[in-house]
Symmetry: C2
Subunit: 528 residues, 2 copies
């Protein structure tokens, strides 16, 4: 399994450009000898044309055939064996245990979309039968279902080299929808990306899918992604990453002659509210849990709890001290890459220049390990300080959290009203704090995609009911999710058929319901 | 029922601005004596703040209460009686019969959303129960449903003074979702808009809804709409109108610090393909039907058939002659306003400057009635001419259609591949042309939101299975519909609840299913 540094386009490994970049081991800050190429506009064009051509074939495949393909992709990723995990660990320093479970999550996700396809009701089949005798005019027969939207561009994230990368959630859901995918691999783990793309290519060949249904291009220049988003044959974009990059892609897509939807998951500080009763009853356990959640994966989770809201008091002061001590005691992890380290140093520095913000932890940025690193950090500010400056909601992407210390519950409710959009919000409370919790949830519901009770936001289940999304700046598309089964809906659009003869209807809309789908027929749910 | 020319804001009729415009009778080109005011930025701000405040109340209402409100709005519109129809006829010249049926459609639509709310499954309740024994970690309980998105700005259309206006489909679906609405009334029918807003206000009062849940602002300046879209408290936009205006609103929303979704339905030429067998067997009837569909409502339908694809031959030549003769024989209708007349004159002129386009009808623009008018017009071009110039797909908003005469079926398939996005596509064919039809539908499916068999695109049923949308430039949001029950989904977004105690869950997600909704529980549809 040689790493070539090339792009996968129309089933071939190739490169025509000369601009290169390397893969860097974040523990040693040492570059690997392999050179990776930046895709050229010509290569992106070829991938897009091939995707459009593949779509003409792929969109005719029954859901079961797409499901078999997803299963095969999962199997081929498994078949890569240890080398995939080891390569990813060398490129990301996320560690073998985490990467092993992330791989399982990734293959499980592919299989879960397969199961969704086999069940079939995700196409939202709706039938309104004709009423030939209706006055003043007959009502026609109308039938509607979802179809794939077309070629999709997927931007990999740095922090999940499997689950939000080449064959991650965006790719899995787009392929499940029946859409060809062109992945722009993340330059932080290009070798891992190439290995994964090898696995997908094997599945494409084994299942006799058109070669253009999956391409992967490499690049560390923003022009690569920009050209991809601008390409007129691309119909939608999936993205996970920073607010700045996500917004740039959103803006590019909105400026196109034909604008296209951008599903960007970008920035979230995931407020955790800890009510006094919870601190009183289980402060020590909570201190450990907060420290664990903030430092999980070296803090590089989009669901990392970046703001912790508490009500001031002696127990709260003691609790914050406990959290800070534990954070100081924990080893500083290794960050993914130089960009993240630089960004984090800058972001925390900027926050600390604001009046009313102070640092509770002792460690200083230069006390890290020899790799890319940042010390585990706890900041503190008052509810009022928080309210006065929206900049204090900027994400610190890494093992950093900030306590927002409110005077009382009213002050806390007020502070929460100032929150921008987030992926999640969490409440830690005791049973006798239910009324306070209810009022807080009511406010928080308007700000987030997921509300958590007595847990922590890190850990995102791949289930039907998951909502991994939220109001801007958490995402650019708050009505959609990028994790869980409903993620497939991002890459589909409805088409209605009026008075269509049965032989021209897709199976999902035929009389007699040959696929045995749950459908809405004349306003009633039925499988008949 | 005096017309004041004012805006409805926080339940009061008011104006502070001084820029005015008038309502013009398009049959006589005579302005009414009432002056209407352009809303000022201050007024728009007040409406938006009131909407945000109303949302805090309205979003807690059960679906049944929203349904009662919609029913009441419908009843209050009916209660306005003939004066509403007469006012609309004076302002739009659409005629009493058409306006009477449009009113019925509008009230029926409000009631249909009420029925949707009472049935309840539109919230898409999904439950994944906990798996406490799952290895390596327990699976949490996860529950997800849709909630209203927040205050919505609705832009009325000129061509449907009821059904796509103040209390039309966008308003009905946004209110049904539980979202406050601020309508930017269309300056073409401001008195009709004021009357309708009076009816909505009565319903707001009768149902004890917060006054801010419905506001209406008037204006003929683009700044009014722009300020509304830019307002940070607006969370989504519904729009029906021209491509130019819709794109401007889309661009404004995309440039906001917090971008918001814009559901703009804009421009469609609704290709109708007539296969040779259909012309052979029922050419005369088809000629009459084409002429009737093109001139319906003086051609001012977003589903007006603007392009008719045929295969050349003696019967086709005779057919085109028949259509042209019928178009010449029909009286030229009255257009809605000066803008539409000017735009149509310009658009047809521009099309006729292109090489290979000729006019089959005899009438000339100056032969219209004394009102705003344009003669019924048929143009003709070859398939090749059509393919070579995307500008030939620009909409002629009025009683104008163009034949695209293809050499054979292959030439026609090629031409259809060049189509941009449209709301609809139609095929007229005989039973023995099924194979050809299948190939055409397969191509057309990628271009449109609705496919029609042996009918005409004009006439859009308000049913569950309707899809009134399509790829750009038909809309800015191809995954959504602006007509039919699924239109409510545009104004909702999902929130998931993780390990939430039952007492904090919304009824739709509670154990025991107190609302008796169809839900997905552990991947199975159930009402249990």
């Amino acid at each position: 399994m040689t790493i070539t540094g090339k792009h996968l386009i129309t089933g071939e490994w190739e490169h025509v450009g000369h601009l290169t970049f390397t893969s860097v081991d974040p523990r040693q800050k040492v570059a690997s000898p392999v050179l990776f190429y930046n895709a050229t506009p010509e290569e992106i064009d070829r991938a897009a044309v091939a995707a459009a051509k593949a779509f003409q074939v792929m969109r005719t495949y029954p859901a079961t055939r797409l499901a078999e393909f997803l299963d095969r992709v999962a199997a081929e990723i498994e078949a890569l064996g240890d080398v995939l995990i080891e390569t990813a660990d060398r490129e990301t320093a996320l560690g073998i245990p985490r990467l092993t479970s992330e791989r399982a999550r990734t293959t499980g996700q592919l299989q879960a979309f397969g199961a969704l396809l086999r069940e079939g009701s995700y196409v939202e089949a709706i039938i309104d039968t004709a009423q030939p005798d209706r006055q003043p005019a007959p009502r026609p027969d109308m039938r509607r279902m979802l179809f794939p939207i077309g070629p999709v561009a997927v931007f990999s994230a740095s922090n999940f080299p499997f689950a939000f990368s080449v064959a991650g959630g965006d790719t899995a859901s787009a392929l499940a929808a029946g859409c060809p995918v062109i992945v722009k691999a993340h330059p932080g783990h290009p070798a891992t990306s190439e290995l994964t793309a090898q696995a997908v290519k094997k599945a494409v060949d084994a299942c006799d899918f058109p070669a253009g249904c999956f391409s992967m291009v490499q690049g560390d220049r923003i022009e690569v992604g920009q050209k991809l988003v601008e390409h007129p044959l691309i119909e939608a974009v999936g993205f996970t990453g920073s607010l700045r990059a996500g917004r740039a892609i959103f803006d590019t897509a909105a400026r196109r002659a034909k604008p296209i939807p951008v599903y960007a998951e970008m920035s979230s500080v995931n407020p955790v509210v800890i009510l006094p009763g919870a601190i009183h009853k289980r402060g020590e356990a909570l201190a450990e849990q907060v420290a664990a959640s903030v430092t999980l994966g070296c803090g590089q989770f989009c669901t990392n709890p970046g703001l912790v809201f508490v009500v001031d008091g002696p127990e709260t002061q003691a609790f914050m001290k406990q959290v800070s001590e534990r954070m100081d005691q924990r080893d500083a992890g290794v960050l993914l890459n130089a960009n993240i380290e630089r960004g984090l140093v800058q972001a925390v520095q900027e926050t600390l220049t604001r009046e009313g913000v102070r640092q509770l932890t002792a460690a200083r940025p230069d006390e890290g390990t020899e790799g890319y690193s940042y010390p585990n950090t706890v900041l503190q500010m008052s509810g009022e300080t928080f309210r006065m400056d929206a900049g204090l909601q900027n994400e610190h992407f890494g093992p950093v959290t900030a306590f927002v210390v409110c005077d009382n519950q009213d002050d806390m409710e007020l502070a929460l009203d100032f929150l921008r959009g987030n992926l999640t919000a969490t409440i830690q409370a005791e049973a006798d704090e239910m009324d306070a919790a209810r009022r807080l949830y009511d406010r928080l519901r308007e700000k987030v995609g997921r509300l958590i009770w007595n847990g922590f936001p890190t850990g995102v289940e791949v289930v039907y009911a998951m909502q991994h999304g939220g109001p801007y700046p958490a995402t650019t598309a708050p009505a959609t999710t990028s994790v869980g089964m409903m993620a497939i809906k991002r890459f589909m659009r409805p088409v209605a058929f009026q008075n269509m003869p049965g032989e021209l209807l897709p199976d999902a809309l035929k009389d007699g319901n040959p696929l045995k789908l749950w459908r809405i027929v004349d306003n009633q749910w039925t499988r008949g």
